[in-house]
């Protein structure tokens, strides 16, 4: 049984390796996750997202890898936009009306390191607000591909 299962696992892994499927053309402002009804609640709905963004911004300003991109920016507005964007992705009652990801980030010279640091700080903020790990990953799975529009250096 274990042997059979292992063969299947190996075969799955290799099948994935063989299938060179190109990236979907997904709107880079984030796809809505419509098949997870409890997800928005797991983040504490809009009020919970606002608390997470407050902590997130504190973290971003404290981290030397992300500080420079936020210290001179309109932090209140960024937080509001992120609440709307995440609320929209999590299938909450919001529309994202903020700027497009690509033009907004094109001049910033953001590296992969900066991007990953931001993800780390978001994880810390979600941890602090008791968002379950699996729910965090659902959101991060939608945000992660945005590196293509955000990381330019």
């Amino acid at each position: 049984m274990l042997r059979k299962l292992s063969f299947v696992l190996a075969a799955c892994g290799i099948a994935i390796g063989g299938a060179a499927i190109t990236a979907n053309a997904v709107a880079q402002e984030g796809t809505r996750i419509s098949d997870e009804p409890a997800l928005f609640q797991a983040f504490g709905e809009k009020a919970g997202l606002a608390r997470i963004m407050d902590d997130f911004m504190v973290n971003l300003l404290a981290d030397p890898r992300t500080r420079t991109f936020f210290e001179k920016a309109d932090q209140k507005r960024i937080k509001e936009q992120l609440v709307d964007q995440f609320c929209y992705i999590l299938n909450g009652p919001c529309e994202y009306k903020g700027a497009k990801m690509k033009p907004m980030h094109s001049e910033l010279g953001i590296t992969r390191e900066n991007f990953n640091a931001l993800v780390e700080q978001l994880q810390f903020a979600m941890d602090k607000n008791n968002v379950p790990f699996r729910a965090q990953n659902k959101l991060l799975a939608v945000l992660a591909p945005m590196h293509r529009d955000i990381v330019t250096k």
């Binding site: 274990l2 042997r3 299962l5 292992s6 063969f7 696992l9 190996a10 075969a11 799955c12 892994g13 290799i14 099948a15 994935i16 390796g17 063989g18 299938a19 060179a20 499927i21 190109t22 990236a23 979907n24 997904v26 796809t31 890898r65 590296t111 992969r112 390191e113 990953n116 640091a117 993800v119 780390e120 994880q123 790990f133 699996r134 990953n137 659902k138 991060l140 799975a141 939608v142 992660a144 591909p145 590196h147």
Partner: protein, 299 residues
Amino acid sequence: MKPNVQPRRLRTLLAGGIAGSLLMAGSAFADSGLSTSGKLLLTGGVTNIEGSAGGGLTPWAVIGGYGTEGQVGGNAFYTNVHATDYTLRTGGALVGLFDRVELSFAQQKFDTRDVGTALGLGQGFTFTQKVYGAKVKLLGDAVLEQDSALPQIAIGFQQKENDRGALLNALGIKHDKGTDYYVSATKLFLGQSILLNGTVRFTKANQTGILGFGTATKDKYQAMAEGSIAWLLRKDLAIGAEFRQKPNNFAFKEDNWYDVFIAYAPTKNVSVTLAYVDLGNIVIKDKQRGAYLSLQVGF
């Protein structure tokens, strides 16, 4: 076994020294303005028994260490596999360059314990194998490309040198040196918190090279399938299972390997992996099962 005490202590000291130097190297890079540790926790994998970044039994397509683009990373590891009748002790280190290239070295000591006496080789007869590895990431990104089914794909080799050539020849084994080539595909399915890896290894090795490479009658490369599945429970904690198909060139039966593992990374500098391994038959002993414990330090 008094004479053993000194070298063992020396090894422990050495290992501590390497670990310390690695951590210092990490902070030195940081001080020099060259940043380090830009990868997310556990996304560099742990270290396989042959020194490559991956799971415990099989290499993955990830580049070891926490260096992302424009950064270097590195780590050192020590792994002890205590099976029913044999012990495998492995130590080594790797560097990851720019999340593109990985260079690794490992030294394996396969201790036959009482089996050594039974085979007339002497109590605790030990095979030592050095493994020099290199890996290149070809394409994809296992972690960030979450809207694509394309995994991260890497190719690599592990060049192995066994120190018991004369004995292996006497047993009808063709070579005391050999090179495994592999291609690995790794993908994190973040929405499901699952990581999958598949590896195909081209090898002539008997028991991964611990018993040399090829035999007088069978001396051809064979493609072997390896796989890992990991379920992320927290960002610092994963459990999973692995499988490694093995050739069967030798007069003594050789079985496929399996493990179930738990890996914990309290910080980016340290990870501990504990596994239960099933190595099957090794030479004259069936059902070689036991504990696998691995410690990794790095940046």
